[in-house]
Symmetry: C2
Subunit: 307 residues, 2 copies
């Protein structure tokens, strides 16, 4: 029964140093540098290093320029940063970021509350970021927040998601991350969006998914997406990063759990899982609390505890 | 793209009062009765109430006869108990259990360490339990432990699992639960066993899966099983129950997360999820620690936190 066909390789994009740390009490820039360097040694090829936002807004991301300046750049690894606007893009390009990320919500309500502007204004902002980045040959990825549901509006129609992605492509964006910002996605809403993208002639090559595990569905969602050919997934070391809408709930899917699952599906990640587990365990001591990752505790299935 | 076809209904079998509590410090019989009664009010149709094992071996299960005697039996709910041997079966039948469960490991090493006997001896034991139960018209389900991997032997060949299930059927067992005892299953090993069962002409009607989330794959495994028609799944309220082979790791998949996912797939559970969440939250206060369930913290996706 050939129900399941999975791609033969995958790319896990690490978001812990930005999306994970941004909700934590600030840690030293040196610790952030050590974290990025340790992650880059595991075989991960894309690492979100930080963001260029106002330090008073997100203190944990202050000093991202120093992180970029001091990390040991490993060949083949793309060091990415999130930028909120043109000024952030200029700082990021000057600091040597390999790729920029911009965010816009499909939900107008979420965009207004999160970014304090309309979706139209966000698209215009992104157009300017793309122009600036293009002049330095730096690609820009758009993160479409609330692609699978909005904590204010509820269900989000996939037609709206595709329409926004098409506007962003016209604005010069080349790759796209569809984000389950507050963990509302389920397997059926994942495939609904992917099928809508396919129907619109969208190339799956530029699709990445940013999944959360807030309701336990993160890896179930990943599997059905992989069955439709998606092979790029965001994840956060140890599962670092919460969900502001659900106190005590988890956010990002843990990188070790994602790597463990993808490799088990034959979707080779190229990541040294045991090395990654050590990074996650070390991060716990830096953060000072237990992280929600499962594989970091139990080890991969083939590591026999009683051998 | 009709990759995914899911059954239109499902049955979630609650195992918290037995499989969950058995690894905890004993709680009062009255608290166990309250738990079973509260669970039976949520729409769950099968509840594992306890086990008839030696109280010195598993103190938390002492008094299961009193639990069975004092619960408020709700029509349509099957109250099930685990029995280790003929003596346990007699006690369980006398105490009024609706269904019995017996355990045998596919892995001889695990069976020897866990049950202190050979697989052959376990099958013989089960034959006698079935005979005794049949005389009282009580059905017996076999739980095939380590169906997806053994912490001592590693990978387990699905051919061995099917062969053992066939022996048990000849011994009179009518329904079967394939257990991922230590959370080693991945989507590919799940489908490998299901395909082997199908190839052997096995009716999927009598297949249940007992999944663990020890490595984060619990619900991903559930989804691929559901794509192949499996509709009966064990789960533990709040995710109660650890994994003895991985300290700090989680064990059973949380019932709320399973119900939330199954309902989202259109596999109607008939369970009142909000009522179930309240039971899980109350259980935390009884147990005195945070449980790993996600939906109990975040609420279902359609419950908007900011509405």
């Amino acid at each position: 029964m050939p129900i399941d066909h999975y791609p033969s390789s995958s790319e896990v994009r690490e978001v812990g140093p930005r999306d994970g740390l941004q909700n934590e009490a600030p840690i030293a820039v040196e610790a952030r540098i050590d974290l990025v360097d340790a992650l880059s040694e595991t075989g991960l090829r894309a690492i979100e290093v930080g963001s260029f936002v106002r330090p008073d807004a997100i203190p944990a991301m202050a000093g991202t320029d120093r992180v970029l300046a001091s990390i040991t750049r490993r060949e083949g690894v793309r060091y990415r940063v999130l930028v909120p606007n043109l000024r952030g893009a200029e700082l990021a390009v000057d600091a040597g970021a390999d790729e920029l990320e911009v965010v816009v919500s499909v939900s107008g309500t979420h965009n207004a509350r999160n970014l304090k502007m309309s979706v139209d204004d966000s698209v215009e902002q992104i157009r300017r970021v793309v122009e600036r980045a293009a002049s330095a040959d730096v690609p820009v990825e758009a993160i479409l927040a609330t692609s699978f549901g909005c904590p204010y509006e509820g269900a989000v129609d996939p037609v709206r998601v595709v329409a926004l992605a098409q506007r962003l492509r016209q604005a010069g964006v080349t790759t796209f991350s569809f984000a389950d910002t507050t963990g509302m996605a389920t397997p059926l809403t994942i495939v609904a969006l992917l099928d809508e993208l396919t129907a619109a002639g969208w190339p799956t090559d530029d699709v990445a998914l940013h999944l959360h595990n807030t309701r336990g569905t993160g890896l179930a969602n990943l599997v059905v997406a992989a069955q439709r050919g998606v092979r790029r997934f965001d994840a956060s070391v140890g599962g670092l990063g919460g969900c502001p809408f659900a106190p005590g709930a988890t956010g990002n899917v843990p990188t070790e759990d994602v790597v463990h699952l993808l490799d088990s599906l034959g979707m080779t990640t190229g990541v040294d899982l045991e090395a990654l587990i050590l990074v996650a365990l070390e991060l716990e001591t830096v953060i000072g609390r237990q992280l929600p990752g499962q594989v970091m505790r139990a080890g991969p299935w083939y590591r026999l505890p009683s051998a």
